[in-house]
């Protein structure tokens, strides 16, 4: 078990957005997280990445507790993410966005740069090349020098994934990466996710596109009203009556 | 002791009037209007001009100056804030453009009136005093406190019982929701500036009368103390501003009496600092003010 959530609760006022959810992501796995609107999926990702504190419950990465830690320490432990409404740095280029993502991997002391030491220049060049390589992996190499705000929606999504990959995370949290995409783009993202998994990163994939989730994920957790109502392989989940009742109906056909 | 209370309430009611305007605009726009102190100052001069050159009695000059303040406030909105609506940096940009406008207004005043202190002519206001209990209170002080109370009551009535007030509160809570409900947000913001600046103008005239001191830099120190008041009261909270204004007035007067006059100004900022560090939402404020 790489990432483990146990009885995680998050209440706002009197309402529980996440109500005692438990799930586990194994190393190397692509784990889907689906559920109707408002089920608490994004909240769960926010809890894992430390953007909001959990009211109760534990979140562990390889045994180390994540809940209660500040976001940047959680990232340092190997958890990165993308966002539902894409949070690239708009004024930075695609390449620079990915470069920021590599923050944790860079170890260039500032004084070396102040003294114009060649080791600093070497490190910088290496970081830039790595960032371009990552953009290449997501098919955005030609658009590397474009400002993020000038990119199309689909392009921004891909850059965001590259940025999340830049620090070689152990677990990547993807928040609805294919929202608003046409089938061709969705297939490209699916391939990308499979590639990420093959490269050794685990993925927790929040998605509305159930067909995609069934195809790409090894295991799926289904959330409704903040509670886990099913957990298993795609086949198991697809035939689970509770899931069908709560959620499917139009969306499985999508 | 009673004397200190009288003095404190007197000073505090002027602070409260000023702060009410400040916090109203902040509540509605989420922006600090640093031209507020310039309106405060300009309208004190306006009252002076009306009394000295147009020979108006203060009874008439006061409402005229207040009206002028309201109109000036709408102009401030039009020039400094409206063009920035929708821009992502509108908070800091609004701060800066209001500073710019304040500078321009101050420059105008110094050009026409000179940098020195002006005074209201003798006889503008009553000069008698009364003794109540062990305290001496002047007629002027009574009038000023009374006017402040009336304006506070008027503001409360406006906000709670009129349609305009309801709309202002709606926009303060969520401009988007208000727009969806059919409120003309720009016009409401303009109206808020009118009310806010009218209050600031009133504070300015009263301040000028209270201390018989009208100068181009009179807004500066009040502006900064006004910040302490709205932070203490809770940004965007009217009752908070009123309460905190009175509290600060009392605090200042008692500090002078018990500790020494050199700490008089420092106490406001000490309070400001403590509040921001320990309880940023102040006495009656609401939203969380810290980072995610």
């Amino acid at each position: 078990m790489l990432l483990e959530l146990k009885d995680v609760r998050r209440t706002f006022g009197g309402l529980a957005a996440v109500d005692g959810a438990s799930l586990a992501v194994e190393a190397g796995e692509v784990h889907g997280l689906i559920g109707p609107n408002g089920a608490g999926k994004t909240t769960l990702l926010n809890l894992i990445s430390g953007l909001i504190p959990a009211t109760s419950g534990t979140i562990r990465l390889d045994g180390v507790r994540l809940d209660g830690l500040p976001s940047h320490r959680i990232a340092a432990l190997g958890v990165t993410r993308t966002y539902q409404n894409i949070r690239l740095f708009p004024a930075l280029t695609a390449a620079d966005n990915v470069l920021v993502g590599a923050h944790l991997k860079r170890h260039a002391p500032l004084w070396r740069r102040m003294l114009f030491l060649p080791s600093a220049a070497v490190e910088e060049r290496g970081a830039r090349e790595a960032s371009l390589a990552l953009l290449g992996r997501v098919g955005m190499a030609e658009r590397a020098r474009e400002r993020a705000s000038n990119l199309s929606y689909g392009e921004q999504r891909r850059v965001e994934i590259a940025r999340a990959l830049a620090s070689s995370p152990r677990v990547m949290l993807l928040d609805e990466p294919t929202a608003g995409m046409n089938p061709g783009e969705v297939a490209a993202i699916a391939e990308l996710i499979r590639g990420v998994s093959r490269a050794g990163h685990s993925v927790l994939l929040v998605e509305h596109n159930v067909k995609l989730v069934m195809k790409v994920c090894d295991r799926i957790t289904v959330l409704d009203f903040g509670k886990v109502i099913a957990d298993g392989t795609p086949a198991e989940v697809a035939s689970d009556p509770a899931v069908i009742a709560a959620y499917l109906g139009g969306e499985a056909a999508a | 002791m009673g004397q200190q209370i009288v003095n404190g309430l007197f000073l505090g009611s002027i602070y409260a009037l000023f702060a009410l305007g400040y916090t109203l605009v902040f509540g509605v726009l989420d922006i600090l209007n640093l031209a507020h102190q310039a309106v405060f100052m300009v309208c004190a001069y306006a009252a002076l001009v009306l009394v000295v050159h147009l020979h108006m009695p203060m009874v008439a000059a006061f409402p005229v100056a207040v009206l002028l303040g309201g109109l000036l406030g709408m102009l401030v909105d039009r020039i400094a804030f409206k063009p920035l609506r929708g821009r992502s940096d509108s908070n800091i940009a609004g701060l800066i453009s209001s500073i710019a406008l304040a500078t321009i207004l101050e420059a105008g005043v110094v050009q026409f009136f000179g940098p020195d202190v002006e005074r209201f002519p003798f006889g503008t206001v009553p000069t008698r005093s009364l003794k109540i209990g062990g305290a001496v209170i002047s007629e002027l002080q009574i009038i000023i406190i009374a006017i402040a109370l009336v304006m506070l009551a008027g503001l409360t009535w406006l906000l709670r019982r009129t349609q305009l007030g309801r709309r202002i509160r709606a926009v303060a809570e969520s401009p988007k929701a208000a727009r969806v409900l059919g409120v003309n947000v720009d016009r409401i913001i303009s109206a808020s500036f009118f009310v806010s600046s009218a209050l600031g103008a009133a504070a300015g005239v009263l301040f000028g009368l209270a201390f018989n001191n009208v100068a181009p830099d009179m807004g500066r120190s009040v502006e900064l103390k006004g910040l302490a008041v709205i932070v203490l009261g809770g940004m965007g909270s009217m009752p908070g501003a009123a309460l905190a204004g009175l509290a600060l007035g009392l605090l200042e007067v008692f500090t002078v009496a018990w500790i020494g006059s050199s700490y008089r100004d420092a106490v406001a900022f000490g309070v400001l600092f403590l509040v921001l560090v320990l309880r940023p939402r102040g006495l009656l404020g609401s939203a969380a003010l810290r980072e995610a």
Binding site: L110, R113 | I104, G108, Y263, L272, L276, R290
Partner: protein
């Protein structure tokens, strides 16, 4: 131009040149925190701390000026740390207000301190500052900011400016970077304060008011906070402008004081409304417009 003419020019405009440099350094001190999206207005207080510390050292010790300046640079940076820890957590305008409050507290502290002559301040501070020192300090500041930009820290700062929570989820320790920038700005301001005190012969609390730090902010904003040299451009422009205007104004019958104020205000207003990225962004904008026009013609 004859050598004598050059000497006359220098005598007349020497102090303007000095202040262009000083104001540039002060503008940079406000810029450091703006570059990561924070509006801190405490720099006048840091300037005061640097000025007073160095003046006191001058009066009571025989320390070389370099040591004075070092203390004036480091002491405010140290003070910035306990200030920053609680205060940098605050959002936007609340941070600004807290730093304004801090600035006033420091100013009033010095006004009431008998050891430094209270409100009158210290006078007859020997002039130990030479113009080259001011520009050397400015050059060092620009150099530091130049090298930070494009470094790992520089990218982190830009990320913080754009989107703090997202920056955090990339492993960036936002609080530490903000604190470092506050301390750096404090160091710049303290250094400028010491240099100014030993140039103008005096240290008085009235110099380090809210108005002063607003001036610094205006220089930075008018020059442009998108690039590290922007604030220096703004400081130069706004320091030279009144000199130019004084000639014009006296012929038109306008007082120099209010005229300077008016023009400062007007320039600031025009910049914030129509050229929000400052004067330093003009060349880039013109180039882009020319390129667009060329492309339209070619099409």
């Amino acid at each position: 131009m004859s050598l004598g003419g050059l000497q006359d020019f220098w005598l007349t405009y020497q102090s303007t040149v000095a202040f262009v440099g000083l104001n540039g350094l002060l503008a940079l001190s406000v810029y450091t925190t703006l570059s990561c999206g924070q509006l801190s207005l405490a720099q006048a207080a840091f300037m005061a701390i640097g000025a007073y510390a160095s003046a006191i050292l001058t009066f009571h010790t025989r320390a070389p000026f370099a040591l004075n300046l070092a203390v004036a640079t480091l002491l405010p940076a140290l003070v910035a740390v306990p200030l920053g820890l609680p205060v940098l957590r605050l959002k936007g305008v609340f941070l600004a207000i807290a730093t304004i409050g801090f600035g006033e507290v420091v100013r009033l502290f010095f006004v009431n301190l008998d050891f430094t002559n209270g409100a009158l301040g210290l006078t007859a501070v020997p002039q130990r500052t030479a113009i080259w020192m001011i520009y050397a300090a400015l050059a060092v500041a620009l150099f530091v900011l130049w090298r930070v930009r494009g470094s790992r820290a520089g990218y982190a700062l830009e990320a913080i400016r754009e989107d703090e929570p997202a920056a955090r989820t990339m492993g960036i320790d936002v609080a530490r970077y903000k604190l470092a920038m506050l301390a750096l700005g404090a160091a710049f301001a303290g250094l400028a304060g010491a240099l100014e005190a030993h140039y103008t012969f005096m240290v008085a609390p009235g110099t380090y008011s809210f108005t002063r730090v607003v001036d610094m902010l205006v220089y930075a904003v008018v020059g442009g906070t998108g690039i590290f040299y922007g604030p220096v451009v703004g400081a130069t422009f706004l320091t030279l402008l009144p000199e130019v205007l004084r000639e014009v104004g006296s012929r038109v019958g306008l007082q120099p004081g209010p005229l300077r104020l008016f023009v400062n205000g007007l320039v600031l207003l025009l910049v914030i409304l129509f050229l929000p990225e400052g004067i330093s962004s003009l060349p880039g904008r013109l180039r882009a417009r020319r390129r667009a026009r060329r492309e339209a013609h070619a099409a």
